[in-house]
């Protein structure tokens, strides 16, 4: 089995208090930047140890072209979002991942919203993408970080839109007018490949055919890896 994982981390500062951000969090759909989010449901919710724990189910549209549908049927994509909100420490941690099709691509995102000393709110986002499909694994490594950067900006725009609508007067008027993505030195892009040498013990002709097919498959996957990652990511 081949599993390649790609990790990236971005930071965004919202010019709103933590309280405003978490109140808006439950109301961030619909917004003009996330028209692809179709449904949103709370599956379970409870207060335990003073923390609010929620599980929500989201579904997203399928932007995959018709000819690609046979590769990724069972759409729209479902996404599960778990969250723990600590009102004392003032942190909200969300963990989202796609439901199903995990062998093709597994996208997990963790976002921690925390209060900053200046009263603004920091969103620290980590994304983990992995695939057990050889072509995808390589493609994921290839497309890496860029897609997540742009998704992060889109998520920022969408959330800010909701914040402005809900709290037109509590904007801190601070210095963070642009999405503050962590400086390149803070970004960690880690890729790791395990067991790539697991394909062996084929006859040479099979190997050649396999090589050819893999190459074609790789090009296909490469062009679609980012699209599919985006499809499975709820933060865009």
């Amino acid at each position: 089995m081949v599993v390649t994982a790609s990790t990236c981390r971005t930071e965004t500062v919202f010019d709103y208090s933590w309280k405003d951000v978490v109140v808006a969090y439950w109301n961030r759909y619909p917004n003009p930047y996330s028209t692809h989010v179709l449904t949103e449901d709370t599956i379970s919710r409870e207060v335990r140890d003073g923390k609010l724990r929620s599980r929500r189910l989201l579904s997203k549209t399928n932007p995959v072209p018709r000819w690609g549908a046979r590769f990724y049927n069972n759409l729209p994509v479902k996404i599960v979002e778990d969250s723990v909100l600590d009102p004392v420490k003032k942190t909200l941690t969300t963990y989202t991942r796609n439901l199903g099709m995990k062998k093709i691509m597994n996208v997990e995102e963790i976002v921690v919203y925390s209060e900053q000393p200046d009263g603004s709110t920091l969103a620290e986002r980590r994304a983990f993408v992995s695939s057990q499909v050889l072509g995808f694994s390589r493609a994921i490594r290839a497309f890496g970080l860029e897609r997540f950067k742009s998704n992060g900006v889109k998520a920022f725009n969408g959330f800010n839109h909701v914040l402005r609508r809900m709290f037109p007067h509590s904007h801190l008027g601070g210095q963070h007018h642009q999405p503050a993505i962590a400086a390149p030195s803070d970004l960690s892009v880690a890729t790791s490949t395990t067991a790539t040498s697991s394909i062996s013990s084929h006859s040479s002709s099979t190997t050649d055919r396999l090589k050819g097919a893999t190459k074609v498959g790789y090009e296909f996957f490469k062009s679609h890896a980012s699209k599919i990652a985006q499809l499975f990511s709820v933060k865009n």
Partner: protein, 89 residues
Amino acid sequence: MNSIGKDCDELKKQYDACFNSWFSEQFLKGRTDDSACAPIFRVYQECVKRAMLEQKIDLSKIGAEYSTRSEYEGAGSSAAGGKQQGSKS
């Protein structure tokens, strides 16, 4: 925002309204008693569960526990990146 079940939209709207008011007026002010929205949540949940069953959305593999992957927190990204994903799917 719509619900996954078309006939749950109205219940969802009612629950969300109840939750939003409880969240900002009670919970964030230190009152953790969440019984206020329990009745509407129960009805809404029944509706959603029915819709999920109809659409064959199975959350049983996800596990009952809320997870926020706390093991990732503070962990080196290379360690997290190399984490085996296949074992729990």
